[in-house]
């Protein structure tokens, strides 16, 4: 059984970690939405996320959208 891995997104180290987050990483956003990274721009700013849960706007579940780094609360594989 593979253990889940939580990424530390804080500080200078966290900026580089965010830039390299792999596809498939599960992210939780500040607004409570949960999604999976489908592509990473590797620019330290944006990731493309497919939403699995979106409490504020359930119509977005299944859709992809670009997410800015400071909207991400947590990331884990």
């Amino acid at each position: 059984m593979t253990e889940s891995k939580k990424y530390d997104l804080k500080g200078q180290h966290g900026a580089e970690v965010f830039r390299m987050l792999p596809e498939g990483t599960r992210v939780t956003l500040l607004n409570g939405a949960i999604g999976e990274i489908t592509a990473n721009a590797h620019d330290g700013g944006f990731i493309l996320v497919k939403f699995l849960e979106h409490p504020k706007d359930p119509s977005k579940v299944g859709e992809e959208d670009y997410v800015f780094f400071n909207e991400v609360r947590e990331a884990e594989s």
Binding site: A41, N70, E71
Partner: protein, 462 residues
């Protein structure tokens, strides 16, 4: 009437050209006001060459190109696989959204405020886009995408664009030169869009006005004997085997300098007197290259026995597309203006997509030997181009006119290429056609005044 203000006082633009005498004022080359007007009147309206599809084989691939003084991102969309062109300037504060020459990207993120665009140029996010204390999700993203060219054309693999939605179609813009360009983009055996380009762009800056090489070298046979004398003496011709083999059944032909004064295109023209594909003559020292081209020529001759075609793409022609593209068979060279006395000169050299490695290597090595600052042929030209500008811009020097009267008054029309003026191959007819078109663009209020949108327009001034 369009007037040029400030530098030399009010003066009509047409007064800088004396068509009767065959002269052109040096002001056209050295006056910054004229340069600024060229960027608006010419480079905002004309079809300009951006690159080749073989530079962007995969979704997300991008190449930085230029249109006039401005950077343009060529990018293949990750979803629909189409290539598009966008101004490299963030819609928020104008920062470059891409600072790389080429690569593959998911998005283009502006490093200033993180306005971010996908590979279709659409704004897809920005920093704090959903923050209630900032944009609060209220920006209409559809309205704020990257500025996209008004018209885009993939012409047999070559990529062209114009900022003007009213510009004619690319084919109408080329007129009788449409087939000429098509031939130059064919493979050796005559297949359309048969080329791939050596990458990246070969680029270098030259401290001169863009029209010096852009208009002069449209065809300029009188310069070769002196300018390239040392290169010729160093056996450049022999470098490609010239003179090693004579044709056994030479095609009857006539050579001309041609210029379309209404379209501004022109160059060298060979009129063959019978249909078919001329025999292949040995040109290469590298083993196996002549054999490859000869076999390709034979396949082409079987396919196109009833048409007049060049023997192979490498020798398909030499002509120029207005305002600044030189098509020298498989070599495309063009001149991006940066300032009145500064240009950037780009080259793409092609080869058959399906050619074996030893043929591609031979073509690439030849292009490197021939072109650019370290090429031992084109560096001769740069010596001239670079010194023309400083020797022409001084307060005294700019009072003298340039002589453009070689062959003036001897041009004639020919039914084989309607609308195109034919003249002796060593004349400056093609260069004069450039200036006929240049003046038309500089004076026209819009494409409504310009051929071919205005079918009745006649821009020939000399």
């Amino acid at each position: 009437m369009v007037t040029i203000l400030r530098t030399r006082g009010d003066r009509s633009i047409s007064s800088y050209i004396d068509a009767q005498r065959g002269t052109i004022s040096r002001e056209i080359y050295v006056n910054p006001d004229i340069f600024e007007q060229e960027m608006e009147q010419i480079f905002q309206r004309c079809w300009l060459f951006l690159g080749h599809e073989s530079q962007l084989p995969n979704p997300g691939d991008f190449v930085m190109s230029r249109m006039g003084t401005e950077e343009v991102i060529l990018v293949r969309d990750r979803k629909d696989n189409q290539i598009r062109a966008f101004l490299n300037s963030c819609r928020h504060r104008g920062m470059k959204v891409c600072r790389y020459d080429q690569g593959n990207s998911l998005v283009f993120t502006c490093p200033f405020h993180a306005w971010t665009y996908d590979t279709r140029g659409r704004l897809v996010g920005m920093g704090f886009g959903n923050n209630p204390d900032a944009y609060n999700g209220e920006v209409n993203k559809e309205e704020w995408g990257l500025a996209q060219v008004a018209q885009f054309k993939n012409f047999y693999g070559s990529l062209w664009a114009t900022w003007d939605p009213k510009a004619p179609s690319f084919e109408d813009y080329l007129g009788p030169f449409t087939e000429s360009l098509r031939h130059c983009l064919q493979s050796s055996d005559g297949e359309d869009a048969g080329l791939e380009m050596f990458t990246p762009f070969q680029r270098h800056r030259l401290p001169t006005n863009w029209k010096v090489p852009g208009f002069t070298s449209v065809t300029d046979l009188t310069h070769t004997a002196m300018t390239h004398r040392s290169a010729a003496a160093a056996a450049l011709q022999e470098d490609r085997g010239e003179g090693r083999q004579s044709p056994t059944s030479p095609f009857p032909q006539e050579k001309y300098a041609i210029g379309d004064h209404n379209l501004g295109h022109g160059g060298m023209c060979t009129l063959y007197k019978r249909p078919g594909v001329p025999e292949y003559l040995d040109e290469w020292f590298e083993p196996g290259v002549d054999e490859y081209f000869r076999e390709a020529r034979d396949r082409k001759a079987q396919k196109f026995a009833d048409r007049v075609l060049p023997p192979h793409g490498w020798g398909a022609g030499h002509f120029a597309i207005f305002p600044c593209v030189m098509v020298d068979s498989w070599r495309l060279r063009w001149y991006h203006p940066h300032a009145t006395g500064m240009l950037e000169r780009w080259t793409l050299c092609g080869v058959d997509k399906t050619a074996p490695k030893h043929v591609k290597d031979a073509l690439r090595h030849y292009a490197e030997r021939f072109n650019g600052p370290v090429g031992f042929f084109e560096s001769d030209d740069m010596e001239n181009w670079n010194y023309v500008f400083p020797a022409s811009q001084g307060a005294r020097a700019r009072k003298e006119d340039y002589f453009f009267a070689n062959g003036l008054g001897r041009g004639t029309y020919n039914d084989q290429l309607p609308g195109v003026v034919f003249n002796g191959s060593y004349t400056e007819e093609a260069q004069r056609a450039r200036f006929s078109r240049w003046l038309a663009f500089m004076e026209a209020a819009s494409w409504d005044d310009l051929y071919p949108i205005n079918k009745n327009a006649n821009h020939r001034i000399w």
